[in-house]
Symmetry: C2
Subunit: 358 residues, 2 copies
């Protein structure tokens, strides 16, 4: 049985993506690979809103998130913590042998610009980690305002995780002044997992060049040196790169602005359904994610039962609450290739099931 | 145009593998994933010749090769260096902040057991890196004899790269006493690149538990902790894991011993062709790889021209020499799904082209 995923990633992968993955294998040091890599750069740069290169890492995003800290942190990093995934960056930073400060808020609350400014003034930091969209609680941080604060701290390299927001709304890297922007293949890009994308500013590369403990596999200077040859440092996940190439062409055909509009409209459908059903969104009003909705289970629905029926009768699945929010929330993704029709189909199914089991 | 790869990896990927990659996407924290992961373990353990778990890393092999050293090296590692890839491990070890001794031989020469013993006696090492099959020069080290030596050095954790030999001949991990055995998806397993496989002994895990600088993404204890739940630490490359699952079923259907026999026979076809054509194998006699043949270009064939015709007229491609062997050698892979018929077709094509251009 094929079950369509409306979870916060991985999500449903389209037949056109599978077809692209089945292109005949090529050598990663061949002219074909170089041509492919270089032809993708302008489209990637347009999506990232940057003139910097976009590197392709054969890993999940956590690999480059760990690597980014190791590449730019001299002594101490500040971790902005607002949910399971941003919290984890503190543990990962400490494991790299760095000092790591915490700017921590309750799940569902955003990192406030004033709090960030205060934290940065309280110590001398080399880098800051910020999650854009906290997948565990469906909260989207006010990234432009946070980046405004960072402009006043030129020594602090910004590392931003956009894994579950990338390509669902504009995140203009250069305009916002983001140094290191990271995303993964398996969220709104609707590709299978296994490929991370990372774009790095010149000043972050300069910082990396002064660091000793960059390692090899996630060394940003290795990515840059190979980028200049149209290659990757190690053997890359060629099939996923074929899939990314096809997806970039689809995004270009749809139009990036249309893609953002579609995600906003699909997200609005979910929000309207939440209200109509008498639920509430979990995050603080004004900070709900545009790509995935974390819904307070105010009606005390049996979420596993809901999802079981959804799976067995409708061949779809949403996600329950993450970690400490299990049972208290459920999560609906509108990332990727979804249309208003497919979102309405999901929401109608949920309505029907809830009417039966509530 | 589809060109079939007879290069030392990636190699040709079969339609059945592509079909497996297109299975509907599943969540990596779902019961389906756990069932898949756990169902693959016995087949993986049979291939690895081990009772230890086999972890799946979403990376190329270099990631876990770097990670393995960081996990078990307290002060100093000994790198056995016999070609471009094994040489690189010295650089990678140093980048991890470790001391790194060199046991270096000329390309084409094996690491001799006596030399290994002498080197290990000359200093106090925590770990040793050994490549089984040196892809750059087609030389296969005498792994059983090297592992015999290591049995006399119980403090030295053995880390063995079998990337381009794995599944082409028996490499019984437990019987040989290998602590950490690493391979990648894109060589003889004939999968697309992007997935590394690693099996780790209990004593290597114990060593890792005493180490501070394991990091996160390649932390062996994270792999073990998640393995116990039937999962991977970070989001895994699910599509490649589907492909691995299908390949393991194919290997089981063929029979592991038949698979080894097929690789030996296909390799013998290449060796016979080399002799008949008046070429010589590059490695020292007795140490030629069974999976890929590095051929001395004794007839001074124009290799790029040979490969151009092979590609354009026959839609196949072999590989030239690596690094300093460019022009002086060429390399023919017999890894993966090749049969005597497909190998003979390749070799006949090469014969025809050489007759025209020699």
């Amino acid at each position: 049985m094929s079950v369509k995923l409306f979870i916060p990633g991985p999500i449903a992968v389209s037949p056109s993506t599978y077809a692209a993955m089945a292109r005949p294998m090529i050598g990663h040091r061949s002219g074909e690979f170089v041509n492919l890599y270089q032809s993708m750069q302008p489209k990637l740069q347009a999506l990232f809103g940057t003139k910097d290169p976009v590197y392709l890492s054969t890993s999940s995003a956590w690999g480059v998130m760990e690597g980014a800290v190791n590449n730019v942190c001299r002594r101490k990093v500040l971790n902005c913590m607002c949910g399971a995934f941003s919290d984890k960056w503190n543990d990962v930073s400490l494991r790299g042998g760095h000092e790591a400060g915490k700017l921590q808020v309750e799940w569902g609350q955003p990192i406030e610009p004033e709090a960030l400014e205060k934290a940065l003034k309280a110590d001398s930091y080399d880098a800051v980690t910020i999650i854009h969209n906290e997948t565990s609680c469906g909260m989207m941080n006010p990234l432009p305002q946070l980046m405004e604060v960072l402009k006043r701290f030129p020594e602090v390299i910004s590392i931003v995780d956009t894994v579950s927001s990338f390509s669902t709304l504009p995140i203009p890297k250069d305009e916002l002044g983001i140094d290191i922007l990271i995303t993964g293949s398996q969220k709104a890009l609707a590709l299978p997992p296994g490929l991370a994308l990372i774009s790095v500013s010149e000043r972050a590369l300069k910082r990396a060049s002064e660091q000793k403990n960059r390692g090899y596999y996630f060394d940003l200077l290795e990515f840059q040196a190979n980028h200049e040859k149209g290659m990757t440092p190690s053997t890359p996940c060629v099939a996923l790169i074929f899939a990314l190439d096809a997806k970039l062409q689809e995004i270009e055909a749809e139009g990036i602005q249309n893609r953002y509009k579609r995600h906003a409209e699909n997200n609005a459908l979910v929000h309207a359904w939440v209200k109509a059903q008498g639920f509430e969104l979990f995050p603080k009003p004004g900070y709900a994610s545009v790509s995935l909705s974390c819904v307070k289970n105010t009606r005390e629905i049996d979420i596993p039962k809901l999802n079981k029926i959804l799976r067995e009768e409708y061949e779809m699945v949403i996600d329950g609450g993450y970690g400490k929010l299990k049972g208290k929330t459920f999560r609906i993704s509108n990332m990727g290739d979804e249309t208003s029709a497919t979102m309405k189909e999901l929401l109608d199914n949920l309505t029907n099931i809830i009417a039966r089991i509530a």
